[in-house]
């Protein structure tokens, strides 16, 4: 305990220093903070309980070897990857995390045998070391939307383009629940440029690669790499109920009410030409092009130019004159809004994915879960960074009670007798984690206004 106190002291000093130099030192990542984060805040117990899926109990039917066959992969400070870690108990995991202080923790599948002992099994030939279970996962990166956003590019995000991620969460979450019947879904901010989704239902964990690929393909509308002009092609007389619902419930509204303006999609010739390129009838496209090129700002009234041009485009395509172009409106909206998945991540059982509650090593932000029902309010730019979390702790000077605090909060929300972990409870953790740090919120409040 003495050592802990020493750390707490050191922490306090650092924290004060940080506050003083708040503007000079961009807050973010710091190995010392990380050590304390793992020591005091990282929800080891619940994390481990989650991955045990009820197999840590005493009741018959528990597979005691289950959680010990799960692969963890650590990325250490100097970019050393340590793959195929496994832990039989929360204490073992917690000790290893605290000792190695990984900059990143990835979670892999549950294998047929303990991944740490895979070499021993490899001798026997016959491939006994194979993945047998894994959450169905999705990875969506905003850098994959660079051709449809103009505010940022690459790994940068802002509240102008983040709605693209909100759309992805809404569409996938609704379909995973309504179409596929899944219930235990965890959305997590990846810490920098996107979101991760963990579907944890036992049925989802048991899917084979072919079934995973089928679900990923069900969601796939965007096709054809960098070398096709038209990326979205919607065929058939009507849209599939899933796409139709996505369009009317989410895509259309976001496109017309948010992205059209925030991304200024029709504001320059270069931008509207990109949209006109999606119209298969060249005459129609050039007609609109000429119209817009002629009247630069002058004749356009107070109406926003983007909204006006979109209305003009719609009425032209919908007019009876051009048969078969109606679908084109939907195609444009889909091209500019519909989720773009990293397909490979979802298709294979053995893909690693960064664990929730990690700290993103580049931004220092905590990978907090996102509540899909309130994802409109999620703002990645205000997600606490490690040093902000840390300042909160120190300012509160209740570092010691915090560790008990997070447990208490979790216990309050979970019924005492619970053989299977209720994931919904787990998804409520983010609030706990951030709420734990009241000062941090205050701080953000101040900097925002």
């Amino acid at each position: 305990m003495a050592r802990e106190d020493e750390k707490a002291d050191a922490m306090e000093i650092d924290g004060q220093h940080q506050q003083v130099a708040n503007t000079a030192v961009p807050d973010g990542f710091n190995a010392d903070y990380l050590r304390i984060y793992y020591g005091k805040l990282f929800p080891h117990v619940d994390f481990f309980k989650w991955l045990s899926y009820g197999n840590d109990g005493k009741h018959p039917g528990c597979d005691q070897s289950y959680v010990g066959r799960r692969e963890f992969s650590f990325t250490l400070e100097n970019d050393i990857y340590v793959r195929f870690q496994s832990f039989d108990s929360v204490a073992e995991m917690e000790n290893s995390i605290k000792e190695k202080c990984p900059f990143k923790i990835d979670i892999g599948p549950v294998y047929s045998v303990d991944p740490a002992k895979r070499h021993a099994y490899a001798q026997s030939g016959n491939n006994v070391f194979v993945p047998v279970e894994r959450e169905l996962i999705f990875d969506i990166d905003i850098s994959d939307y660079d051709d449809v956003r103009y505010c940022c590019s690459g790994a940068d995000v802002c509240m102008e383009c983040w709605p693209l991620m909100t759309i992805a969460i809404k569409i996938l979450d609704a379909s995973l629940r309504d179409d596929f019947g899944f219930n235990h879904i965890l959305w997590v901010y990846s810490g920098r440029r996107g979101v991760h989704c963990w579907v944890c239902d036992s049925r989802a964990r048991k899917l084979n690669n072919e079934q995973r690929a089928a679900i990923a393909d069900y969601f796939r509308v965007y096709k054809g790499g960098e070398n096709t002009m038209k990326k979205v092609s919607l065929t058939g007389a009507v849209l599939h109920p899933f796409l139709a619902r996505s369009y009317t419930d989410v895509l259309k509204g976001f496109f017309e009410d948010k992205l059209l303006l925030s991304q200024q999609l029709f504001a320059s010739e270069e931008r509207y030409q990109k949209i006109l390129d999606l119209i298969p009838d060249e005459n129609v496209a050039s007609e609109l092009h000429d119209k817009w090129q002629g009247n630069r700002r002058s004749s356009i009234s107070k109406e926003d130019v983007n909204a006006t041009r979109w209305e003009q485009l719609k009425s032209t395509l919908q007019s009876g004159k051009h048969k078969g172009l109606r679908r084109c409106i939907e195609e444009i909206v889909f091209s500019y809004t519909y989720p773009r998945l990293d397909m490979e991540v979802s298709k294979h059982m053995n893909h690693l994915l960064k664990a929730p509650f990690c700290i993103h090593p580049k931004t220092g932000r905590v990978c907090v879960p996102i509540d899909p029902n309130n994802c409109d309010d999620f703002d990645p730019t205000t997600v606490p960074t490690l040093s902000q979390v840390f300042q909160g702790i120190v300012s509160a000077t209740i570092a010691e009670s915090l560790q008990g605090g997070i447990r208490k909060l979790i216990q309050c929300q979970a019924p005492a007798v619970q053989e299977y972990l209720d994931l919904v409870k787990f998804t409520q953790l983010p609030a706990d984690l951030t709420n734990l740090v009241p000062h941090e919120k205050l701080l953000l409040h101040e900097t925002n206004h």
């Binding site: 051709d147 309504d178 179409d179 790499g225 070398n227 096709t228 009507v238 899933f242």
Partner: protein
Amino acid sequence: MEIVRSHRQIAAEAAAGVGCGGGAGGLPTYRVAPQLEVRLEEFELFAIDRLRVLKGIADGLSRGKRPEEMEKLVKELWKAHMRHQDPTETLNKDIISHFVLRLVYCRTEELRKWFLSMETTLFRYRFRLESPESQRMLMSEFQLPYKALPHSEFEAVKDKLSQVARTIGQSAAVESVFFKVPFEEVPDLVASRRVFLSKGYAYVAMSQVVSLVVTQFRCNISKALVLTNRKWTATIKEQEKDRLTPIVEALSNAYFGPDYSQPKDAVEISLKDIDQLAKTSFPLCMRHMLEKLRENHHLKHGGRMQFGLFLKGAGLKLEDALAFWRAEFSQKVGSERFDKEYAYSIRHNYGKEGKRTDYTPYSCQKIISATPGVGDHHGCPYRHFGEDNLRAALNKMGISGHPLEEIMDKVKNRHYQLACTMTFEAEHGVSCDTGINHPNQYFSESQKVLKAKNQAVQSQGTT
């Protein structure tokens, strides 16, 4: 199955299709190996005939044939290769050849995958050709536990079912018999959004039932292949080393031909030659990736795999490969990050990391079936480029006018490999009768042609 050298006896029950899952209309389900004796010659001949069918199917798939075209193709292939002069023997030939090939194709993951995929496709289209009555019998043989959707439930989702039917070009008048099944059972229908999904269930129309049966079929064969492999390595291989083993091993090579994982004739290419070779001998897909790599100093995973393995197959040594990729990537991500994040996968491709498999360069079939996403440059240009981009790319290779139009025509008809073959012919001024089915084949054929030309020029020079 007993294999005998001379005379044969056919177990009556096998001939009737009992015990080996013989379907009503002569479509067996291959659930149990038949108790019958086979002559050694037939063992091999039947297998070769079936292989011709499977190979034909693979070709059809790689050309992106539509289901109706595939149905016709399968029918023709079957008729051409699998009939027996003695009609009563046809079913036996079917069953025997299947089980022989199971032995041939059980031995590696790659072989199993190919066989499973082709046999499943074969079964799918043969099933479609069966009468509704025998289809129902096959369904019951697979013991599929599904009951038709009750009327009340049907009425509740009728609109949605009609909506789905219209998306796949059927009339809005909905079929009346639907099965409600866990979506896991019909991955192909889910992937192509050809079913209505609700709360984890897929609503499968009677006309789509083939998907349910095929899933079951695939699952059975997949398990059986793994078991066969175990038996093969544990006992059969050794027991039969003088008799069946050589036949079995020859059969799998007979189809796959060279896998290009090792460069032919120990050809080596060196770093400094890559750009020159690309101009003269790389197929379009590889030229394109090299160009993009030089331009962006980066290629995404799919591109690194397709292009990296191609270079390996063309004879680029590991050290050179590392130097090649490092030279480009370091301009974008720095050489330190390259060494940390990318070098591993290159060594991995050369079998120096991970499970140490020496990975095989991708064939055209694999490349054509890729699904490149945002920022990806891999895949087959003939399939994945838009028309304008493809024309521009071919122009850049110096192809225009009539040959260009002919190539574009092939592309329109989804004969991607033929389009590539014609590009080869236009570029080299010689005909390529075998057709292009592997980018490394394109490369080595091209080198052959160029060498011959060089020699011709030299010998002319000396005379």
